[in-house]
């Protein structure tokens, strides 16, 4: 079972209380973009074996969207952070680097 800590209400939410929102930090391609860039924005997603940044919604709780960094191979959660952040914060990146260094 996956548990994520909601960065808004601070609760440890069970996987069944959450709704998955797919890959995080997508950059929207506007009307001036090329067809291939727009297609990539709409449909093409990374599917890494390893560290993945994802969007989740605390659907059965406070209802807020947030971001989570976790490993798709070990299911280890490196941390969660607010949806307003356009990129993973330094402490999450540091946590990933520390853990990856250990297991590499």
């Amino acid at each position: 079972m996956l548990y994520l800590k909601c960065p808004y209400c601070g609760q440890m939410a069970d996987e069944t209380e959450l709704a998955s929102g797919g890959q995080a930090h997508l950059r929207r391609e506007g009307p001036d973009s090329s067809d291939s860039a727009f297609e990539a924005y709409l449909f093409l997603r990374d599917n890494p074996r390893g560290v993945h940044f994802e969007r989740w919604r605390h659907a059965y709780g406070c209802g807020k969207w947030f971001h989570a960094a976790r490993c798709t191979r070990t299911l280890e959660v490196f941390g969660t952070y607010r949806a307003q952040m356009g990129a993973p914060p330094q402490d999450i990146l540091a946590a990933i680097a520390a853990r990856r260094g250990e297991t590499a």
Binding site: G10, E17, Y60, G61, G63
Partner: protein
């Protein structure tokens, strides 16, 4: 409910008002305290004063519980207190159903339905949590005399059956 379970489950009538606004804003907090007559609760808690309760539902949402029938009057008072502010006051009394679960084993009965940790240490009196109960969303909080469950009115019959099932006399548990 056909036969009494190991805990007592009763549906409560209550006036409920959803209050939304920026809970970090000092101006909003002051007006909300004046309008509700209660001190604003800390995240994931509920506060009481007599028959009124104020629960923290989300970083931008509070729930005010008042005696049945007082919803409309309270909405008017709140709207007056919050005049000119970016806030929402909505009477949700008829949109929500409230159940009270009391007796020894109340926590066990609810723990069968939700992933939330309901042990007295993790969920002391005054804690509020929005979570999943069976297949539906709900909020629950701990009081001195039991636990209260809140869900949408549209799933109230499901919730009543769920609670009756969880408190079946043959399924009593003592864990906490």
């Amino acid at each position: 409910m056909s036969e009494p379970g190991f805990v007592s489950v009763s549906e409560l009538g209550a006036g409920m008002i959803a209050l939304r606004g920026d809970l970090r804003s000092k101006v909003f907090r002051k007006a909300a305290e004046a309008g509700t007559g209660l001190k604003l609760p800390a995240p994931c808690t509920i506060v009481w004063d007599g028959a009124r309760a104020l629960g923290w539902m989300a970083p931008d949402e509070l729930l005010l519980v008042v005696p049945e029938g007082e919803g409309a009057v309270t909405v008017a008072a709140l709207e007056h207190a919050l005049a000119g502010q970016h806030a929402l006051v909505a009477d949700v009394s008829d949109a929500r159903a409230m159940f009270h679960i009391s007796g020894p084993g109340a926590r066990e009965a609810l723990a069968k339905l939700t992933p939330a940790d309901l042990s007295p240490a993790a969920f002391p009196v005054g804690t509020l949590r929005r979570t999943r109960l069976g297949q539906v969303a709900g909020a629950l909080w701990a009081e001195e005399r039991g636990l209260t469950v809140l869900c949408f009115r549209s799933v109230a019959v499901y919730m009543r059956d769920l609670l009756a099932d969880a408190s079946h006399p043959d399924a009593a548990l003592r864990v906490f």
